[in-house]
């Protein structure tokens, strides 16, 4: 964005030769990182490159790092989140650290509540009017006037919660703001609003580290970019000196054919369109979606595009029976009437759903890779009453190979894997069940570029092998690259169908079109 502003040449933050080791892994290998005042600094890299680890060191989460951290020329120790906060560092994680049962105002001043009282009880009581007023004036100052300081955080949208999180950081005097995948759960309009806010913050002198898998966003908001790979910094560039292709090459250490169709010829391509495995007719759920009709064919990848709240996720969950019976409409599955009521019934009928939130809905994080992979088929791989451990082990191993899941062994808990590898475990779980229909809700959210490509190719191969896939995504480019047809949803209805040759621009236009 603007680079011709007058900024001081002294960095606000310098991290020098940072080393962080996990058992068996050198996560950060002598990493240097500098941040200038009023700078938006993109931090990119494939999953497992070390960017989150670096930011956790900065945020005081990993107190046992080695190396030097200077804040405004002064050496600092970041041994705890508290120390980081005292030095003006605030990290906004993908999962917000807000207390959802408290109000916006209470969250913003949490830990610094204004107090009052007299005599012996000098500071015993909360000063409620001042608390509310402080929060309200801060929200106004930041231009977040659509957020009501009195509403409960639990009642806010994701985008509004993010604004509260930012306001809270500013209230705590943060001069360095780290945003980890801030747009992952935002709609396009909300994203643009966030970019305006970032611009305003940086002009007010706040320095921002911006982590994102969406490279377009990095080009849009960042002044400089640091690229990490395998625990090292491989490049630092002014953003105007880079193009997308070069950036991807730096991240992956190799070239990638981006923008091209991921076209393994599928059964649908070869033999015209395969038979319809799923016919949905007039499916409705009150307040969520209405009159949804479409056909899904064997060997096809059918895309569904729509903004957050367009009903796309509710539709996917309805077909999978995740929210109980629908209000009206019919579904014919492989020639038979099918009433989705429970996920159990869906799975037994050959339907699988890769949910949008893998941590909350896709995985049992405390359990090992093996148990997660075998969860849906635990009742199948048995000898008599008992689990067939040998067969399970073999099956998990073959899944790990097939999807090239990176994990030390199949016995490590899934929670320790990177986002991309976690997503592969969810995929592995459903592949093990060999469903006829696989519904994928945002399969590449929070997944690095390299793994995304792997997933695309994998989905096309599945389709080529005769499965039918439904893919929901926020990313018009990936839809136009992977899908045979794309349905556009707006306000709970299918408003348009695009063929697979549609360019990503067409998809975007259709999704964000006028009502």
């Amino acid at each position: 964005m603007s680079t011709n502003r007058d900024v001081s040449n002294q960095p606000v933050l310098e991290m020098r030769s940072i080393v962080k080791r996990f058992p068996g892994v050198l996560a950060l290998d002598n990493v240097d990182f500098t941040l200038m005042p009023g700078e938006v600094h993109g931090l990119v890299g494939a999953n497992g490159a070390g960017k989150s680890t670096l930011m956790k060191v900065l945020g005081g989460v990993y107190g046992d790092y080695r190396g030097e951290i200077l804040i405004g020329q002064n050496a600092c120790e970041m041994r705890s989140p508290r120390e980081a906060q005292e030095h003006g560092v605030s990290v906004i994680h993908q999962e917000f650290s807000l207390v959802s049962t408290l109000t916006v105002a209470e969250n913003i001043v949490l830990g610094m509540e204004p107090r009052r009282g007299t005599g012996m009880l000098g500071k015993a009581f909360l000063d409620w009017p001042r608390l509310r007023q402080q929060a309200a004036s801060l929200l106004e100052e930041l231009g977040f006037d659509k957020v009501d300081p009195d509403s409960r955080v639990a009642d806010l949208s994701v985008a509004e919660q993010q604004l509260v999180q930012i306001a809270k950081a500013i209230a705590a005097d943060a001069r360095i703001l780290v945003m980890d995948e801030p747009t992952a759960r935002l709609s396009k309009a909300e994203r643009d609003e966030l970019f305006r806010i970032i611009d305003r913050l940086k002009h007010a002198g706040t320095s921002i580290v911006y982590i994102s898998h969406f490279l377009e966003e990095v080009f849009q908001v960042a002044d400089r970019v640091t690229v990490m790979r395998d625990g090292k910094v491989v490049a630092v560039h002014q953003v105007e000196d880079l193009d997308r292709r070069e950036l991807v090459r730096l991240m992956l250490g190799r070239d990638i054919q981006s923008g091209d169709k991921v076209r393994v010829p599928s059964a649908a391509d070869k033999a015209g369109m395969g038979e319809a495995v799923l016919s949905v007719d007039g499916l409705s759920r009150n307040g969520k979606f209405e009159g949804i009709s479409f056909k899904l064919h064997r060997g096809e990848v059918l895309g569904i595009a729509g903004l957050v709240g367009s009903g796309r996720t509710d539709l996917a969950r309805a077909i999978f029976g995740a929210d109980g019976a629908v209000d009206s409409g019919n579904i014919v599955l492989k020639g038979k009437t099918y009433h989705p009521k429970t996920p159990r019934k869906a799975v037994r009928s050959g339907i699988a759903l890769l949910p949008e939130d893998r941590k909350q809905q896709g995985l049992v994080l405390v359990r090992p890779v093996s148990d997660n992979t075998m969860l849906a088929v635990a009742h199948k791989l048995v000898r008599g009453l008992f689990l067939d451990h040998r067969a399970r082990h073999r099956e998990v191993d073959s899944m790990i190979k097939r999807l090239s899941i990176k994990c030390a062994s199949q016995d490590v808990s899934v929670g320790t894997l990177s986002g991309g590898n976690q997503q592969k475990v969810v995929l592995a779980k459903w592949l093990a069940a060999s469903p006829d229909i696989l519904i994928l809700d945002q399969p590449t959210a929070g997944v690095d570029v390299g793994t995304k490509e792997e997933i695309y190719v994998f989905l096309r191969r599945l389709a080529a092998a005769g499965s039918a896939l439904i893919m929901i995504s926020d990313d018009p480019e990936e839809l136009s690259r992977v899908c045979d047809r794309i349905l556009i949803m707006r306000r709970g209805r299918i408003v348009q169908e695009l063929c697979g040759d549609a360019a990503s621009g067409d998809v975007l236009t259709a999704v964000t079109g006028d009502y």
């Binding site: 999978f320 995740a322 799975v347 949910p355 909350q360 049992v364 969860l375």
Partner: protein, 307 residues
């Protein structure tokens, strides 16, 4: 090393305690005392095995003690008229009914386990007092006492029952699909449901199994006193929970093992046995037991944080 301690820590503590007591207290190494030790802890080991399953699902069963009493009373009432076999069946059926009620309240109605099982506990106690006018049931067949106090060779029958229960439950947890579902739903109920598993049925089964085991505990207890007492086994659910947590199974769910719970039960049993032998006033015992629970869980929590 750390991993070794995480896995075998409590076993090491149990072994050290045993060796110290064995070498320093002559009354402790008396074989009769050792057999008593095993016999006295059988009831808690059985109830705690069921409690482990419940806690792995992320729940809790506050009705375990009252269910044990219910099973004992039902068994006693039937036994005096219709003999031992029917009495045992009646006891187990009554216990299973209480467990089924817990399970349905939790999975179908959606009451949190703490409240649901607290309610069932209080109702059960009330029903026991109403139906018996708070009077004990005497006149049980004398042979029934073998269940509580008899032995095969030197080995107490009560302990044999506990061993069999623990082995079965351990196999169920580790080597059956059901066990996988229990562990998975404790770790993430939503993800487990969305994997096509009938979470409600699994939970109902867990509470029913736990209640049947509490019932078995109650039946052993009945064999030790040979009198059906409505206020029997009061507070036993807390001893069982203590054994589970001392064994290292986290209340957060998704993890845990029966073997750990048995070790936890033995550690607690060993302490109370030693205090007895050293003539420490019984009034001191709860305080010491409480301290042990906090120390054991404290060490476990701190070591988890440091990883």
């Amino acid at each position: 090393m750390k991993k070794f301690f995480r896995t075998y820590g409590m076993l090491v503590i149990l072994a050290v305690m045993f060796i110290v007591l064995y070498s320093s207290l002559p009354t402790f190494r008396n074989p009769q005392n050792l057999l008593n030790l095993l016999q006295q802890n059988a009831v808690n080991a059985v109830i705690a095995s069921g409690m482990t399953l419940v806690i792995i699902t992320g729940g809790i069963d506050l009705s375990a003690g009252s269910t044990a009493a219910l099973a004992g009373m039902a068994a006693a009432a039937v036994m005096v008229r219709h003999g031992i076999a029917l009495g045992v069946v009646a006891g187990l059926v009554a216990a299973a009914a209480a467990g089924l009620l817990n399970g349905l309240l939790i999975s179908k109605v959606g009451i949190v386990p703490f409240v649901a099982t607290l309610g069932v506990q209080i109702i059960t106690k009330g029903i026991l007092f109403i139906s018996t006018n708070a009077t004990p049931i005497y006149g049980l067949p004398l042979e029934y006492m073998t269940v509580g106090l008899g032995s095969i060779g030197p080995f107490p029958i009560a302990t044999s029952i506990a061993v069999v229960v623990a082995v079965i439950m351990s196999v169920v947890l580790k080597h059956t699909p059901f066990g996988q579902y229990v562990l998975a739903l404790g770790g993430n109920e939503d993800a487990t449901r969305l994997s096509g598993i009938d979470v409600d049925r699994t939970k109902t089964a867990v509470y029913t199994i736990a209640a049947i085991l509490a019932g078995i505990g109650g039946l052993i207890l009945l064999g030790q006193t040979n009198t059906g007492q409505p206020q029997a086994a009061s507070g036993y659910e807390l001893n069982a929970i203590a054994a589970v947590v001392v064994g290292g199974t986290p209340l957060s769910g998704g993890q845990g093992s029966i073997v750990n719970t048995i070790i936890g039960a033995l550690v607690l049993g060993l302490i109370s046995n030693a205090l007895n032998l050293m003539n420490v006033s019984p009034y001191w015992q709860p305080a010491v037991t409480g301290l042990i629970i906090l120390v054991a869980v404290g060490i476990d929590t701190v070591s988890r944080k440091r990883k």
